[in-house]
């Protein structure tokens, strides 16, 4: 209970301070603002450490249990240990083992997984992108125009295709996106005010 009140108090004080200091022009307020910004980074750095410990604990547990996922947990743990050893012992600059592993293993592997999207998108486009009503037919036609109009083949087929694609993006899509952004902005203001007032406490883990 005391911990909850302490957390709400810190959130309230920090929220109020960050709101009020925007309008203050005193040197002491500015110094306090800079200190808060540094503290935010320091606290977040500790959160990263906690995150790493959490991941290691979960995968150590998985490794100790029999099952088909053990190999993945083992790979993750080996990667984490190796990269830490490379980073702390050999540095992270050009020519280091750390950077070599990142450039030649991690980046290509992650890019490969990302590139699989092209295959799944193609498969999903064939299966799911159907014109079942007038509204969905409009969506399919717009998608086809943007799909072809945003690559050079669209320009090669006809200059009207990229022009139409630009119009779709800059007029109807932009209007919808702007409305969504305004809604998100208003929602963020309302949630921020509720956090500062202590009414919104889901960040305490739903207590």
């Amino acid at each position: 209970m005391l911990r909850d009140w302490l957390s709400v108090g810190v959130a309230m004080a920090a929220g109020l301070f960050m709101t009020v200091q925007y309008f203050l022009v005193s040197e002491s307020a500015n110094a306090a603002y800079r200190t808060v910004l540094l503290w935010m980074q320091i606290v977040f750095a500790f959160a990263l450490i906690i995150g790493v410990i959490g991941v290691l604990r979960i995968h150590l547990k998985k490794l100790s249990r029999p099952g088909s996922g053990r190999i993945y947990s083992g790979t993750l743990l080996a990667g984490a240990v190796l990269m830490s050893v490379f980073g702390f012992s050999g540095g992270i600059e050009r020519g280091s083992a750390f950077l070599w592993v990142f450039d030649n293993l991690q980046a290509p592997m992650q890019s490969t997984v990302f590139s699989l999207l092209a295959f799944y998108v193609a498969s999903a486009a064939y299966r799911g992108f159907r014109a079942r009503s007038m509204e969905s037919a409009v969506l399919v036609i717009a998608a086809l125009i943007v799909l072809i109009g945003r690559v050079p083949v669209g320009e090669w087929l006809s200059p009207h295709i990229p022009e139409s694609a630009d119009w779709i993006l800059n007029v109807p899509a932009l209007a919808a996106k702007r409305a969504i952004l305004i809604g998100i902005g208003l929602g963020m203001i309302a949630t921020s005010l509720k956090v500062i007032a202590g009414l919104e406490r889901t960040y305490l883990g739903g207590r």
Partner: protein, 270 residues
């Protein structure tokens, strides 16, 4: 969809993309106003200006982000504009260091004088706001642990007033925070270099003038290379991207024809 057509879809997509990468067609690339806007702003800078490039992306998006970053870095180096690199995503740290370091060394630029890499800082909101107050307070040292005050370029930059343009190379929503914190609060000029899938999300910021420009995905990289007269990875990727888009468009049409004929058959059958 049964396993057989799915396999065919995968095979056709793979064959078309590989074919387009192996045999270049060289389709004409139209320069969009968004890319030209960014190019012209960087072109207007000179050797006394500093551009801040933030590598706000993961390693997985390097094939798309890399060509954009290379084109922008090459442009700055060619103009003699100084570059300060940093990362607000942990994975962007090593990627940014490799990319910026490689391009700079290739151009014969001197580290600490012509370019500087600051590395990663956690909590992007605090880092962006903090740099508006005092860059050396947020980054006391560079990526390799050397004091910022020990380099000629590091000594020149104190806050966003010393930065001509901030470029956020991003595969997510990070440019939003640059706009909200660096742009709105400190008046920094922000440009977003994005993966294609993120472009629509940032068009409202471009229209309102909160973003000074957008480089849209691999196509943007190809356009930028055309503007510089140096075709590279972006231009090479355009044929493959065109081919992949055509395959998806054809599949959408085929899927709809199939669904329409299925519905018709179902109506006819008793």
């Amino acid at each position: 969809m049964s396993a057989a057509p799915r396999r065919w879809v995968f095979a056709v997509m793979g064959a078309v993309v590989i074919g387009a990468l192996l045999f270049r067609v060289g389709l004409p690339i139209r320069i969009t106003s968004e890319t030209r806007q960014v190019y012209e702003q960087l072109e207007s800078l000179d050797s006394s200006d500093v551009v801040m490039i933030s590598f706000d992306h993961e390693a997985s998006s390097l094939p798309e982000i890399g060509p954009i970053g290379s084109a922008i870095i090459d442009h700055c180096l060619r103009r003699g504009t100084k570059i300060i690199g940093l990362a607000l995503f942990s994975e962007g740290t090593a990627a940014g260091y490799s990319l910026l370091g490689d391009r700079a060394r290739r151009a014969g630029a001197v580290e600490g004088e012509d370019w500087l890499y600051l590395g990663f800082r956690p909590q992007y909101a605090a880092a962006i706001l903090g740099m508006g107050e005092d860059i050396p307070q947020v980054f006391e040292t560079d990526y390799q642990g050397r004091p910022l005050s020990g380099t000629p370029l590091g000594m020149r930059v104190h806050d966003y007033r010393d930065i001509a343009i901030v470029v956020s190379l991003s595969d997510g929503s990070m440019p939003t925070y640059w706009v909200e914190y660096a742009g709105a609060r400190y008046g920094a000029r922000v440009v977003a270099a994005l993966t294609a899938v993120m472009v629509t999300s940032f068009l409202p910021y471009l229209e309102s003038g909160q973003l000074a420009g957008i480089v849209p995905g691999m196509k943007g990289a190809a356009e930028y290379e055309q503007l510089m007269g140096l075709p590279a990875a972006g231009t090479r990727g355009m044929d493959a991207q065109s081919a992949a888009h055509v395959v998806i468009a054809v599949l959408v049409v085929l899927g709809n024809i199939q669904a329409w004929s299925d519905r018709r058959r179902a109506r006819r059958s008793p």
